[in-house]
């Protein structure tokens, strides 16, 4: 019985190793970032894993040693002290070890939390491109206010340029995630969130909606292509020349629940994004929505940063650039 069992266990283990090694390391897209935000997040993942490992690995080894050494068997040499139940030095030690580790990890976390605040602009000598993203039932609508084009379930932008994604939802909440560029942010109805991302190299990146929003949620994947500036400009020209326009009626068509293929539009109704964001704001109300409805003046996106006094201290100069222009909107 025992040997059969061992064979089964070994077989399973080997099968697992085989299958895992069958997947190439490129598939671990979270650990294979192609932009500054994703890079920093990967660094943070590695730092925190290491810090945790400092405490976890010894504990695992200690567990194995103690369980083995103190098992009950005839003629064992290990000591047996049934009344030994307290030792101030030892207890102080293992209160302090996790406290020290958590202080270090906490400091690192706080530093990165401010550094990677999603609405913080990425330092670059290039002007950021704004892309307005709307999650719908069950498709992504991307609008380029600068270029006056729109796409569905497909997004393209030049490499090495900060992209300012403005996220909202025309339906239940979703979460906008392009793992190789950086972490996700919720797209929520009635407000516009800002997420800065940048691709450092050309490539075709997987994007998805990471928060369940109903029946065909799994269909909300899209491709994000980072290309050269020339290629991007050519593509914009091409879309403007060849694709149909997105009309208000066309948008109503998109609102109908259902999946969608990639679509391209040469223009879109002016102020559509602002309209989506502010659709629930009632005349004269000053509720939670109108506060977040900073999206009404969609460029006033830095409310998170300004609310949190991010302009204190070291971040002052960077944040100031990005946030102050929008304050008039509040």
């Amino acid at each position: 019985m025992r040997s059969k069992f061992r064979m089964l266990a070994t077989g399973l283990f080997l099968a697992m190793v085989f299958l895992i090694s069958g997947c190439s390391s490129e598939q671990y897209i979270v650990l294979d970032p192609k932009g500054p935000i994703g890079e920093s997040q990967k660094d943070l993942i590695l730092i925190s894993t290491l810090l945790c490992a400092v405490i976890i690995v010894p504990v695992l080894i200690l567990t194995a040693i103690i369980v083995w050494r103190y098992r009950d068997r005839p003629g064992r040499k290990a000591a047996y002290k049934p009344e030994w139940e307290h030792n101030t030095k030892l207890e102080v030690t293992w209160w302090s070890i996790p406290i020290v580790i958590i202080i270090i990890l906490g400091a690192v976390t706080v530093y990165y939390t401010y550094k990677l605040e999603p609405s913080k602009a990425i330092a670059s000598d290039k002007e950021p491109i704004t892309i307005q993203v709307t999650s719908m039932d069950w498709k992504w609508l991307f609008k380029y206010p600068g270029e006056d084009i729109a796409t569905v379930n497909y997004v393209k932008f030049p490499e090495d340029t900060p992209i300012r994604f403005q996220l909202t939802s025309d339906t239940a909440m979703n979460s906008f995630w392009i793992p190789q560029l950086g972490g996700q942010l919720y797209s929520m109805s009635g407000m516009a969130m800002t997420l800065y991302l940048q691709a450092d190299e050309q490539g075709s990146y997987y994007g998805s909606g990471a928060n369940f929003n109903g029946e065909d949620f799994a269909q909300m994947t899209f491709t994000a292509d980072a290309v050269s500036q020339e290629e991007y400009d050519a593509w914009v020209e091409e879309v403007k020349a060849d694709a149909p326009a997105l009309t208000m009626d066309g948008y109503k068509e998109l609102q109908k629940p259902g999946r969608s293929d990639v679509q391209l539009f040469s223009s879109f109704p002016e102020g559509l994004f602002e309209q989506i964001v502010t659709q629930y704001v009632e005349e004269g109300s000053s509720g939670a929505h109108s506060h977040h409805g900073g999206g009404a003046e969609a460029s006033t996106d830095e409310e998170a940063a300004s609310d949190e006094h991010a302009s204190h201290g070291a971040e002052e100069t960077e944040a100031a650039n990005a946030s102050h222009e929008g304050h008039a909107g509040h």
Partner: protein, 662 residues
């Protein structure tokens, strides 16, 4: 007329799915079989007088455990269906809407109708025995709590065959859970099922806090209480503060759906984000509610099977209480990606990490309880040993998730799924299994077959790692939770197949456990000593199963691990301490006991009727149900014959029969 009935039933019953049709048929057959068996063996009266009306904490505990094992089966089948779909999405085994319903019910059932009742079952069976009490503080309320849980759970489960299951996720975020997102009745079943059972949970929390504070045996100071009782106290205090939040949140959602209010709607000034905050203010403490008692169980088992005092008792108590406190200040870590800004995220990241400190200390204390101990490894101890590495790793991935900016990459991915299954299975389920194996002889008076138990143990453990380790990798590959299908190009399939194999290994493990129980009942190995594991605490000082009054004489407690100390004194041949000896020699006195009552069962049935009425908006049914509830309350208020005394000669007979066996 015929058409009307046909229309009605096609809306009323879930139709058109062969899987559900199969389930409907098998449920009908099972019900008929149960009714037939009860009638054939003339067991209806026995069922009513011995079980349905009982206020005995031990029997209520057993009913909780039976219900939770049934729910484990259903939640487990849900899990296996999902794993089949994810291993081969090309086959379209489950359609999107069906898949969405299944992950919703899997989550609700496993947390609220499996983990919670299994926990309450162990509370009920163990706590009064451990603190030397005759019953809980409010036995009638205890019975009511159980039946409220039971009928709430049934109301939720019935949605599977009648009306359709909820499919907005286990926490039912609006607007998906609003009328706009879920026009069907599934979401109403969700609200009422959880509301009704939630009242039961809250009452249980209060009941055990009072029991532990007021009903300890004379001499038992708080700081001498067994660690499991401490963990129950910390868990129940958390329940008292957390469950009202759940009740209010779901009530507001109900108002939105039923009366057209706008608390959480997109329009009319509502805010769905408020719901997300509120539900997690309950939801996060909830996971500590279920894990804290598991910590208590491990503490008992480690000490017993190391034959050594629990190391760092005061540290352990402090750790339990601080976890219970901090659990209320971490909720926003469930949505760092909501963009609340760096200050909020930094605050909640730090509070979350803080919880790792007392948890880590507990692990060290368990390790140093074993250090210089004399370890033996029967099944309860095996589960405990398996728990430590599993929980340590799961805890570590939890700390990784608490690093807010990194969480932007982990959130809602399979990394998160793997993490919370590792702490909930590796912590809560392993813990409750350990407790179940440990106290089984005390509950039933016979031992479980160790060999089959070990098979189950290994299948559970290997199955667990095979199932969930690949999911960490899948998360790092960008696979998002709640996907019912994915592109083959993503390269996720091989690991998903491995994961599914692991899930089925755990399914096999469950079968081994059922076999183990059946086998042990058939070849009954009576446990007559009352002290199956050479235990340390009071529950092992009385016969197994405990007589209905628990302790013939109220014990007098002089130390922590009182029963162990007493056995040591006997071994050393010392004279018994005078106050203990006096209590033991005192003449038996009639024991004051609560009378059985049918009111909790009837009142909960009425709640079920009212809830069902609310689900379908049948006014006559709502009125009928609520009227029944009020009448039950009045009946209870005016019943004066609620207690009785067990005469001394009956106690003598019972004790002689129980003690005479050895």
């Amino acid at each position: 007329m015929w058409h009307k009935i046909k229309d009605f039933s096609s809306e009323f019953f879930v139709t058109g799915d062969p899987l559900i049709l199969g389930a409907q048929v098998s449920i009908a057959i099972t019900l008929v079989a149960i009714v037939f068996t009860l009638t054939y063996f003339k067991k209806w009266r026995w069922l009513w007088t011995e079980w349905l009306t009982t206020v005995d904490h031990k029997r209520i505990g057993i009913m909780y455990i039976i219900a939770s094992i049934l729910m484990l089966f259903r939640g487990g089948v849900d899990a296996l269906l999902m794993r089949v779909q994810l291993a081969a999405p090309q086959l379209e085994f489950l359609h999107a809407d069906h898949y969405n319903a299944i992950f919703t019910t899997h989550g609700v059932i496993m947390i609220l109708f499996m983990a919670m009742p299994l926990m309450f079952g162990l509370f009920n069976i163990v706590v009064p025995l451990q603190i030397g009490a005759r019953d809980v503080a409010f036995p009638f309320l205890n019975s009511l709590s159980f039946w409220m849980f039971f009928f709430g759970a049934m109301l939720f489960n019935v949605s599977f065959i009648i009306g359709g299951s909820p499919d907005a996720g286990w926490l039912a975020y609006p607007p998906l859970s609003e009328l706009s997102g879920s026009p069907g009745v599934g979401q109403d079943f969700y609200i009422w099922g959880i509301q009704i059972s939630g009242i039961g949970s809250l009452a249980t929390g209060i009941n055990f806090v009072v029991t532990i504070l007021k009903m300890r045996a004379p001499g038992m100071k708080l700081m001498q209480m067994p660690m499991f009782s401490w963990s129950v106290l910390s868990s129940c205090v958390t329940i008292m503060f957390a469950f009202p939040i759940l009740t209010v949140t779901l009530f507001l959602l109900f108002l939105d759906r039923y009366l057209g209010a706008h608390f959480f709607t997109l329009d009319g000034g509502g805010n769905p984000m408020m719901y997300i905050n509120l539900i997690w203010m309950w939801g996060h403490p909830e996971v500590y509610i279920v894990i804290l008692p598991a910590f208590g169980i491990f503490s008992e088992i480690v000490a017993t099977f190391s034959k050594k005092k629990l190391f760092g008792y005061k540290s352990m108590v402090f750790a339990l209480m601080s976890i219970s406190f901090f659990s209320f200040f971490t909720w926003a870590h469930h949505f760092f990606t909501m963009g609340s800004g760096a200050n909020v995220n930094a605050f909640f990241a730090i509070t979350t990490m803080l919880i790792a400190i007392p948890t880590g200390v507990k692990v060290f204390n368990w390790l140093f309880t074993m250090y210089r101990g004399k370890l033996s490894f029967p099944t309860p101890m095996l589960w405990t040993i398996a728990f430590i590495p599993c929980f340590v790793v799961g805890g570590m991935t939890g700390v990784l998730l608490s690093v807010a900016p990194a969480d932007f990459q982990f959130h809602n991915s399979y990394f998160l799924i793997a993490h919370f299954h590792q702490v909930l299975i590796g912590g809560v389920v392993f813990g409750y299994f350990a407790g179940l194996y440990y106290w089984w002889p005390k509950m039933f008076g016979f031992r479980l077959h160790e060999g089959l138990g070990k098979w189950a143990f290994w299948f559970w453990n290997i199955g667990f790692y095979v199932c969930f380790m690949p999911q960490y990798a899948l998360g790092l590959m960008g696979m998002t939770r709640r996907f019912n299908e994915y592109d083959f190009d993503m390269g996720w399939q091989p690991l998903n197949v491995v994961s599914t194999v692991g899930a089925f290994l755990m399914g096999l493990a469950f079968i081994f456990q059922v076999w183990q129980i059946a086998h042990s009942i058939k070849f009954l190995k009576k446990e007559t000593s009352g002290d199956a594991w050479d235990g340390r605490t009071l529950e092992w000082s009385i016969p197994s199963p405990a007589p209905m009054y628990n302790f013939a004489r109220t014990p007098v407690v002089t130390s922590q691990d009182d029963w162990w100390e007493k056995k040591q004194r006997r071994l050393r041949g010392e004279a018994e301490l005078p106050e203990v000896a006096a209590a033991e020699k005192a003449p038996l006195e009639p024991i004051h006991m609560p009378r059985n009552s049918g009111i909790p069962f009837i009142m909960s049935t009425c709640w079920f009727v009212a809830g069902f009425g609310f689900v379908w908006d049948w006014k006559w049914m709502i009125v009928l149900g609520l009227a029944g509830v009020i009448i039950s309350m009045l009946a209870r208020s005016f019943s004066y014959n609620t207690d009785y005394y067990i005469p001394v000669d009956e106690i003598e007979r019972t004790e002689a029969a129980a003690r005479g066996a050895h």
